[in-house]
């Protein structure tokens, strides 16, 4: 399979502080990966750097997408090439209605359909994320991604602050965005998801998982196995692994 996204020796700093150190990661077409790691280890930094937020300064290494080096590409061009992201803490935008933002994500999208799917019809004419609860903000991210239909979707804690009912809804949306609802051989969409609790993984499929500690990916493997291990003994064992490399 082609490596849709390939990250090679990526080092990134923010605000003068080195956060990512020689990260290597490859996500193939049709695959969705999980990314685990303790608070502050650099997970968000990795996704935001792939998205192209200029504040994240790439000090070394490169990011390849669909075979092309996108390390220096402006943000919106990456979006145009098919990279999408659900932010961990999205901002509110005054005067921009959620319905209108869906249209901006994709003029062809049927906003009403998607809003209904994410149980957000009552929010259609409200300013994006303004006064939304934690769970509503996360569903607002999903509805935008459903419209945008990115080839590679990055989900930064889409389940944080979300009740069980809605985790199910979000899981279903992710399943659709990542094409886990169709035959493996037909899948072209890929993704990466950051989650702490793993409830969401009951409602979506992941093919592989990685553990990040202190800005480095130290371990990769089967998602269930890794999650069970983390649940049992926290990240201590992983940190021990770090000492060995």
């Amino acid at each position: 399979m082609i490596g849709l996204l390939e990250i090679e020796d990526l080092s990134v700093s923010i605000g003068g502080k080195r956060v990512l150190k020689n990260v290597n990661l490859k996500v193939s077409e049709g695959e969705t990966h999980a990314l685990f790691g303790p608070n502050g280890c650099g997970k968000t930094t990795l996704l935001n750097t792939i998205a192209g937020i200029p504040r994240y300064q790439v000090d070394g290494g490169r990011i390849r997408f669909k075979g092309e080096d996108i390390t220096d590409l402006p943000m919106y061009e990456r979006a145009k090439k098919g990279i999408g992201i659900a932010f961990q803490h999205p901002p509110a935008i005054r005067g921009l209605k959620l319905r209108d933002l869906i249209k901006l994500c994709n003029p062809q999208a049927d906003a009403d359909d998607l809003l209904t799917e994410m149980d957000l019809m009552d929010f259609a004419d409200r300013d994006v994320n303004r006064g939304f609860s934690g769970g509503e903000v996360k569903r607002s991210e999903m509805v935008q991604l459903l419209a945008q239909q990115p080839d590679f979707v990055m989900l930064d804690e889409p389940d944080s602050g979300v009740d069980l009912e809605n985790i199910k809804l979000i899981g279903k949306a992710i399943t659709r965005i990542t094409q886990k609802d169709i035959k493996p051989s037909k899948r072209t969409k890929s993704g990466i998801i950051i989650t702490h609790f793993g409830h969401i993984l009951d409602y979506m499929k992941t093919d592989k998982a990685h553990v990040m500690i202190e800005g480095t990916v130290i371990c990769s493997g089967d998602p269930r196995e890794i999650l069970d291990e983390i649940k049992k003994s926290g990240y201590e064992r992983c940190a021990a692994c770090l000492c060995q490399i």
Partner: protein, 405 residues
């Protein structure tokens, strides 16, 4: 007060500089306007006037409760087609109604400054609106002030009276055609909102780059009356200074001011003042300003004279260029205990985070800036009929708003 007294006071104030705004040299403008002929049928209105009116939210084709069009100093068309609403040009109204003297220069002092004095010294032009007790306008009254003669000093004096329990919606668009670069517009407006009446007044300005503008507005509101005052200026102007004052003079009176400003050059000094003079009155004022190069002074002042009143001020500004300046001056003047007055003011650039958010969805930097600026200018306005709300929304959203360098 006899008219001669007014003339006397006006004469004495001829050189009196205004408290705010840059000083305008009145001598440098044409004093006499060429007359225009009246037009019975709105369909015969010159196309350039019709188009200009449309640009300031005054669509002359759609239903209205009445229409007033003034070109330079001539009221070329007035019609009123609603029961209980009078819409006349002010000269005719003064001739017809002796009692109008009791409203003439009673709120705006004739000797406030050289501009009010100047308006008083020439034959009056402007409109007179009166809603009889209990009368309600279904459709807004529309008026257009068109300054078509280069270098003219256009003088306007309007009186609006909403009798007890009435409801009035007025939209006024003031504009110049593109060939008129230089000009001066002086506009005096006096509003009387009586017991339980509601007035919405929406003013949209679209001037030339070399036009100077000095409106002088005062509004008196009685018990249970309410005002929704909206001001929009999104196109360049040389200098503009206005500071409408509302006096809440009866229990439960309410005033709400909204202003939306976008400037790429010139000097705009705009504010509003509300005097809360009776218990249970309340006022709010929201100003949104965007500068991509011009200077905007955004003032707001609330004066609480008695206990049990509520006032809130919001002045928010975005500066999108190194050359721009926004000077936000919110003032709260509480003169007794038992008041609830507050303000919030913020001036800054567009949030990086919001830009990045939209760029992550595939919008370019320019598109994202446009979306955020338009959203910022799309103020939620209360007290307006739906048709006017949509008109305002269209105007603030259709403008080509460019991000600064």
């Amino acid at each position: 007060m006899p008219m001669s007294d007014l003339e006397d006071r006006a004469r004495k104030a001829r050189d009196k500089k205004a408290a705010l705004g840059t000083d305008v040299d009145l001598e440098s403008y044409e004093q006499e306007a060429s007359p225009h002929s009246e037009i019975e049928d709105l369909d015969l209105l010159p196309e350039d006037v019709r188009k200009a009116a449309l640009n300031v939210g005054v669509s002359l084709d759609t239903e209205s409760g009445g229409t007033y069009v003034q070109v330079d100093q001539t009221p070329i068309h007035v019609d009123s087609n609603m029961e209980g609403i009078e819409f006349l040009d002010i000269a005719t109204a003064l001739k017809n109604y002796d009692w109008l003297k009791d409203y003439w220069w009673k709120l705006v002092p004739v000797d406030q400054d050289k501009y009010t004095a100047d308006v008083a010294q020439y034959p009056p032009a402007g409109y007179f609106i009166r809603a009889k007790p209990g009368a309600k306008t279904v459709f807004p009254l529309k008026s257009c002030m068109y300054l078509g003669q280069s270098n003219l000093n256009q003088r306007v004096h309007n009186i609006v009276i909403a009798e007890e329990g009435s409801e009035l919606h007025v939209i006024t668009g003031c504009t110049t055609p593109s060939h008129v670069q230089r000009g001066l517009h002086l506009g005096v407006s006096e509003f009387y909102i009586k017991k339980g009446a509601h007035v919405s007044f929406t003013m949209i300005h679209n001037w030339g780059k070399e036009v100077e503008v000095r409106p002088r507005t005062k509004i008196h509101i009685e018990e249970g009356g309410s005002l929704s005052n909206n001001y929009v200026c999104l196109s360049p102007v040389k200098t503009l200074q206005t500071y409408p004052t509302a006096i809440l003079d009866g229990r439960g009176a309410v005033a709400s001011f909204n202003s939306v400003l976008y400037s790429n050059q010139g000097n705009i000094d705009i504010g509003s003042e509300v005097i809360l003079r009776a218990p249970q009155t309340s006022a709010d004022s929201v100003s949104r300003a965007v500068s991509v190069g011009g200077e905007i002074i955004a003032r707001g002042r609330m004066v609480g004279e008695v206990p049990d009143v509520k006032a809130h001020l919001e002045c928010v500004g975005l500066i999108l260029s190194d050359r721009g300046r926004i000077y936000s001056i919110p003032e709260l003047d509480g003169r007794c205990g038992g008041l609830d007055m507050s303000h919030e003011a913020a001036v800054g650039k567009i949030s990086e985070e919001e830009l990045e958010y939209l760029m992550a969805r595939g919008l370019s930097m320019d598109q994202a800036t446009g979306v955020i600026v338009r959203g910022f200018l799309d103020v939620e306005i209360k007290g307006l009929p739906e048709s006017l709300k949509q008109e305002l929304h269209k105007i603030t959203q259709l403008q080509e708003l460019h991000g600064g360098a």
